[in-house]
Amino acid sequence: MTDVTSIQTQARAMRLPKLGRVRVLVNAVIGMSGLLVLWWLGGRYVASNPNMMAFTNFAPTPTLARLVQMFASGEVVDMALPSLSRVGYGLLYATAIGVPMGILVGRGPRLNEITNVPFQFMRMISPLAWMPIAVMLFATWDAAIIFLITMAALWPILFSTAAGVKRIDPAWLKVARNLGANPFHMLFTVILPAIAVDVLMGIRLALGVAWIVLVPAEYLGVSSGLGYAINDARDTLDYSRLAATVVVIGMIGFTLDSLAGLLVKKFNWMRGGH
């Protein structure tokens, strides 16, 4: 019995051999190089067309040169920090509302039936559609943007939490109750650890949506952040800065998503992934 188990464990550890990881990395580099080549070809085309001479700074060379300069001067940090703070608050509020609501909806079939249609309805409204209302509702532009991000991030967190709660084995709760668990134990020993992965996967999805909503939300009112930087660069015809900001948005978004992915992996108790 023991031998069989240890062999199984070894087999599991060997599932992704080193060679496989190297291959994944090589393929990622190939993919990114392809993207860079397409960008370069686009730049060449623009440069060769007399009507588009004004836009040559969108090409990789001026953009990347500008990007290095923006990193060196600290400009990247200056424009990213307000955006990150807005997304952070939005996610925080969405989690604070979405997780408890998701647990309630997941635990009560009746509540699930009552809330399902209105929630699905609300989910399909573009968060940006709330913009005028948000502006009227909140005294500051910052608060309005955080509200929009919260509205965008709430649904994935809520639905993912509820789905996780529904998958909890009722026998776990029965065993815990039989062994003397109070409601506090139930929540912190059984329910929350059981749904940790689902909550984090919801937050990861929410992060993606929030990051997308952020830029257009920052087009209005505020004078800081990545969305503002894009608008500002367009108005001042500073196209290498505009393109460099676009790259920064992609880089930060990719990094945040990867970090969230690592977190999901760390908290995933299921063997062989979700």
């Binding site: 019995m1 069989v4 029965k174 109750r177 062994l179 003397g180 020993t189 650890p193 059981a194």
Partner: protein, 274 residues
């Protein structure tokens, strides 16, 4: 592997030596929604340290009866009295074991076993108690293993250790071995009997397997279905050697109980295989 029925178990010094006295008094139950009667006027006693099997076809309400004994659900009429007190709620003094081990998959073997002690504010006992019960179920070397890497039989052993950790006075077994292969099932059956006798634990077990009842129990209570009622209460007078070796006396006893069971179940059983 599972040869020594009772190896040296220093563990036993701290384990309880007396089981609970159980009295089921005129217990009836009707499902609230469908108004279907499932159990009618059931009364029986189980003396401390006795092992009693409730035998009946699926649907005779034996599992419902066991839930009511445990306090996980309440009967519509009659009462369950343990050591002179009417049972109104589940308690870690009488622990339920299900067909599925229902271990929390994000915890290690030792953490699963420690659950009951933590819930009942006896965390200080964990360092001594957990290795003790793991040794008792012959899983001493597995404390830090992920429960998802264990075989079905090993998982059920861990579940048994988890049930024994809070020093219960009674175990309630709901066909806990029915999902295991024949070999593992048989060794666990005799081990559970050995452990229970050694600790003086009272056991009430539910089964539809007559050979399991004859091998493990001191008494078999036969239930008829639609609605479930007590039909026969048979003493099984085999000594430990006769139970283990399945000798002549075992087969005579098995045939007797099998005959009664078939008469109640209203169908002839297949040939007795073991």
């Amino acid at each position: 592997m599972l040869t020594n029925p009772i190896p040296e178990r220093q563990a036993l010094r701290t384990l309880p030596r007396s089981g609970a006295h159980l009295a089921v008094r005129n217990l009836s139950h009707t499902y609230r929604w469908t108004q279907t009667p499932v159990l009618t006027d059931i009364s029986f006693d189980v003396t401390p340290g006795e092992i009693v099997a409730l035998l009946g076809r699926s649907g005779c309400g034996k599992s419902t009866l066991l839930h009511m004994i445990s306090g996980l659900s309440q009967p519509s009429a009659g009462e369950v009295v343990i050591d002179g007190k009417t049972v109104t709620d589940s308690s870690p003094r009488w622990v339920f074991m299900f067909q599925s081990p229902s271990l929390l998959p994000w915890l290690t073997v030792a953490q699963n076993v420690a659950m009951g002690l933590k819930f009942t504010r006896r965390s200080f006992e964990v360092p001594q108690r957990v290795p003790e019960v793991l040794d008792l179920v012959e899983m001493g070397g597995y404390a830090d293993r992920n429960v998802q890497d264990l075989s079905g039989g090993q998982k059920q052993r861990v579940a048994l250790a988890r049930s024994l950790a809070p020093k219960p006075e009674m175990l309630l077994l709901d066909e806990p071995f029915s999902a295991l292969d024949a070999f593992t099932r048989r060794s666990l059956q005799s081990e559970v009997r050995d452990i229970a006798r050694e600790l003086g634990l009272t056991i009430v077990m539910v089964s539809h397997d007559v050979s399991e009842a004859v091998r493990m129990a001191d008494r078999a209570i036969l239930l008829d279905s639609d609605p479930g009622r007590l039909v026969k209460d048979v003493a099984i007078t085999l000594n430990e050697r006769e139970r283990k070796n399945s000798d002549g006396r075992y087969h005579t006893e098995l045939k007797t109980v099998m005959g009664m069971y078939s008469a109640i179940a209203g169908e002839t059983m297949g040939p007795v295989l073991d």
